[in-house]
């Protein structure tokens, strides 16, 4: 369906989407291996750490066929958001599996939410300037 894409900007988006899917696959495998060696002690954060890059990859994939693909700034903010969420999930998972808690973990969802909001605002600005 996307093999006919020739626009360099959209090809770039496909590469970004593929990168996100690779990150999701890596996190899924990492989480599965970590859980395997944790003697049944599990954490949903670790199990679902692959979701942020998967969602970002899907968003980028859908944007390829759209009329207003996200620009570089928006993509950067989106990836920064995904990184904050995924690293936060992995860190929270490690702590939860070891039976520990930390108030510092709150920084990750806050950072992720702010970056997601900035990414959205940036995307809206891109659309406005394009039109």
């Amino acid at each position: 369906m996307f093999t006919s894409v020739t626009d360099p900007e959209r090809a770039l988006l496909l590469r970004h989407a593929a990168g996100s899917f690779c990150a999701a696959l890596f996190l899924a495998v990492f989480g599965a291996i970590y859980e395997h060696f944790s003697f049944g002690v599990y954490s949903n954060y670790m199990l679902y750490a692959f979701l942020p890059p998967l969602i970002a990859g899907l968003l980028l994939l859908f944007s390829v066929s759209g009329t207003h693909p996200p620009q570089q700034r928006t993509r950067f903010l989106l990836h920064a958001c995904v990184a904050a969420c995924s690293v936060g999930c992995i860190t929270a998972g490690i702590l939860r599996i070891s039976g520990r808690t930390s108030d510092l973990l709150l920084c990750y969802p806050v950072a992720g939410a702010l970056l997601a909001m900035f990414a959205l605002l940036s995307y809206l600005k891109d659309r406005k300037s394009a039109s």
């Binding site: 003697f39 002690v41 599990y42 920064a80 990184a83 904050a84 690293v87 702590l95 808690t101 510092l104």
Partner: protein, 409 residues
């Protein structure tokens, strides 16, 4: 190019912050109070003064000639039974003990009149030196030195009281206040160690912080902390140092009053009973005012009012599988079970929480609570480790923990 530099900087910051979070959680120690070995023994003296017969608990301070002679005491039978086991408490000795205990109760009641909670730190300091004494009786005596009756009122023994024959070996301990019997079971291909503990007073059920220090990531092996505190018997505690939140009340002293949602708290009250609650129901200060002697925050509750409180699908989020476990249960006030199961080895699979709860129920526990398990699970008795503590199953090795629960003077 600009965004590549930004991405590199952002990635570096994110990695550094995550490394700090992990280090903060696992490694970086933060001592908040050193010499944290104080005890608020006034809880027991208060009970003697206000409720001499207790609530069925054979408190040492109530095992007195005066209390025992009072036929109105509902705990008389229990006290009488205790007197049978506490053979050294002969008639003459009891008279002396009764007056000393009564004096201690009076002194404590005066000290804590209307402001018991505010005096906890002061009491801790007062009892700090008392901790080093060998018996609580001597502690009470020193606390009530100013009001103690003159020595002439003490009737000296005419004849040497018969010495009890205590069975003390590598599986049993007994003296006038403490009886411990260790048993080993095989439950579902798992070695389970059970310590049946009977105390004349819950004040002998104590806790200790690693290195005598309250704080985050301050750890020591259970056996080291137990030996440092002269424990007869010990198990690992709730690893309070792994969390920033959750009540920490130890030996009648409040160390942390920050609520922690979604966690069951076990309070061992000064009357010897177990009380399981949540931070949504009571503040730490309220629990302290109610007479909480110890308060643990791990959970979940395993047995409550004699019934299983966890089912097969409601395991604590930390563990869905069989693992080493540590749990504490109460058959009746003053009569406790400490259970430690092996796990993660080829010899022992470990137990799920539901399996542990069923086992403890079969032993007669009316209330039971899960403590820190996994590699932390350790049972110590008279200088030896009884179980096979392991984190990975590859090696039998004790894990360093924040705190222990122990039986001793």
């Amino acid at each position: 190019m600009k965004y590549k530099i930004l991405a590199a900087v952002y990635g570096t910051l994110l990695t550094a912050f995550s490394a700090y979070v992990v280090l903060d959680a696992f490694v970086l120690g933060k001592a908040e109070q050193s010499n944290a070995s104080g005890m608020n023994l006034s809880l027991f003296a208060e009970q003697t003064a206000e409720e001499p017969v207790g609530s069925g608990i054979p408190l040492q301070t109530t095992v007195t000639g005066e209390s025992a002679a009072d036929g109105s005491s509902p705990a008389q039978t229990t006290d009488a039974k205790q007197s049978e086991t506490a053979a050294p408490a002969s008639g003459t000795t009891s008279v002396s003990g009764a007056k000393t205990a009564a004096a201690a109760g009076t002194a404590s009641a005066q000290d804590n009149d209307g402001n018991a909670a505010a005096n906890t730190q002061a009491n801790a300091q007062n009892t700090q030196s008392a901790k080093n004494s060998q018996t609580a009786k001597s502690t009470q005596s020193s606390a009530s030195a100013s009001t103690a009756p003159p020595p002439t009122e003490t009737v000296p023994p005419e004849t040497e009281p018969p010495q009890p024959e205590y069975l003390n070996d590598d599986r049993n301990y007994q003296d006038e206040n403490i009886t411990i019997a260790i048993s080993e079971y095989n439950v579902l291909d798992t070695a389970v160690y059970v310590a049946d503990v009977t105390l004349s007073s819950p004040q002998y059920l104590k806790t200790a912080f690693a290195n005598d220090t309250y704080g985050k990531n301050i750890t020591a092996k259970t056996s080291e902390t137990a030996a440092a505190n002269g424990a007869i018997f010990a198990v690992n505690g709730d690893f309070y140092g792994a969390h920033n939140r959750g009540y920490v009340i130890r030996n009648g002293i409040l160390y942390r009053d920050v609520a922690r949602d979604g966690t069951d708290f076990l309070c061992i009250m000064a009357d010897g009973s177990f009380f399981i609650t949540t931070s949504a129901e009571y503040s730490a200060q309220e629990l302290l005012d109610m007479g909480a002697w110890q308060c643990f925050m791990f959970g979940p509750r395993l047995i409550e009012n004699g019934g299983i409180a966890v089912d097969e699908n409601s395991e604590v989020a930390r563990a869905m599988a069989s693992n080493p476990r540590t749990a504490i249960g109460m058959i009746e006030p003053g009569h406790y079970l400490f259970v430690v199961s092996d796990g993660r080895t080829s010899e022992s699979d470990g137990l799920s929480l539901n399996e542990l709860a069923n086992f403890m129920q079969s032993l007669g526990c009316q209330t039971a609570y899960n403590l820190d398990g996994g590699g932390s699970s350790t049972m110590y008795f008279q200088g030896s480790i009884l179980n096979n503590p392991t984190t990975s199953g590859n090696s039998i090795k004790e894990r360093s923990v924040s705190d222990i629960v122990y039986i001793g003077y």
